[in-house]
Symmetry: C2
Subunit: 192 residues, 2 copies
């Protein structure tokens, strides 16, 4: 049960798009990890791996010295948010300026992956997610050939999730009137 | 004292760029807010306002119904991270693929701004940060003319901060050798 009271979207509930969670996680470039240490929240950006074929699993990697990864691997609860900024929305009224975005938020617990073969395989898939045109043995050497060094890989088992999106145009009543003061529209980053 | 033990960068300390914190916060588009509720970390994306003329203050806005903003305004500790993804780094070795980024992380406590004139002024500045070419009264109506509706504005007083950046090229020993297997380089998003 991934949609829970914790992940229920209270503000603009019509923007909830739980069915898009896997797509957002598949497309994202940066995951913001939230964890708690000494009663204080921390938010740290990570590159990550996600594959909709195993929708419950999200992978973060980093140095074995990383405080965030160590903390995660201890089984502490974490929250991870992936945000895609799709556009900037301008309007005839200051308050109706907005942003078009999609974001997915997941909650879960993590474990460190220590099996070398599993790590090699996941790192290779992660390279291919970020660089879909590149192939092992032709464009780059396999992770197995160079060793993993001081790189740790952590698997987050997703227990709860939801996603939210704002799409479309300005929402003000005057935004469709060409004779009203000012201008309105969308700067769509995906078309730039 | 903004650089503290909490904000000390442990992994790749040579990537610490505290002197760039204000610039990163000024340039960012999305702030990821971390807060704690019932012992669980939450990470939520926000548009925000930041002005290097008042470097200790960062503003988030949202619905008065927002759980995150309500929680913040109660004085609970928060962490906010702004990340700029500058490029993707590809290498001749799987493990040397990387990302060029800049990120700033701040810690502080918040209060809600209730003075209407102060809110109008800050919302107007926020519109101008996101849409630098637009001017009140010409391109859009002032926030004062339309009222603030159900929009809350929260001011975070920054107590601690730091910033981190990765720049440049692949780091592998073969990455400069044109006769070695594969290819290496940077996809610089700022040049696209």
């Amino acid at each position: 049960m991934k949609l829970t009271e914790r992940t229920r979207i209270r503000n603009h509930p019509e923007r909830a798009v739980p069915e898009e969670t896997e797509e957002i996680l598949s497309q994202g470039m940066v995951a913001h990890l939230g964890f708690i240490q000494d009663g204080i929240p921390f938010v740290i950006p990570f590159s990550y791996h996600y594959d909709a074929d195993t929708p419950d699993l999200l992978y973060l990697h980093g140095s074995v010295r990383s405080r965030a990864l160590k903390h995660m691997a201890s089984g502490a609860p974490v929250c991870i948010t992936v945000t895609l900024t799709d556009g900037l929305v301008y309007s005839r009224k200051a308050m109706n300026h907005s942003m078009n975005y999609r974001c997915a938020t997941v909650f879960g617990v993590a474990r460190e992956i220590t099996d070398e073969a599993e790590k090699f395989d996941l790192f290779d898939k992660m390279v291919q997610r970020y660089f879909p045109g590149r192939t092992v043995g032709h464009d780059y050497n396999s992770p197995a050939s160079g060793g993993l060094g001081a790189t740790a890989l952590v698997e987050v088992k997703i227990a709860e999730w939801n996603a939210k999106a704002r799409r479309g145009n300005p929402t003000g009543p005057d935004d469709d009137k060409p004779d009203a003061l000012g201008s309105a529209g969308v700067i769509d980053f995906r078309e730039l």
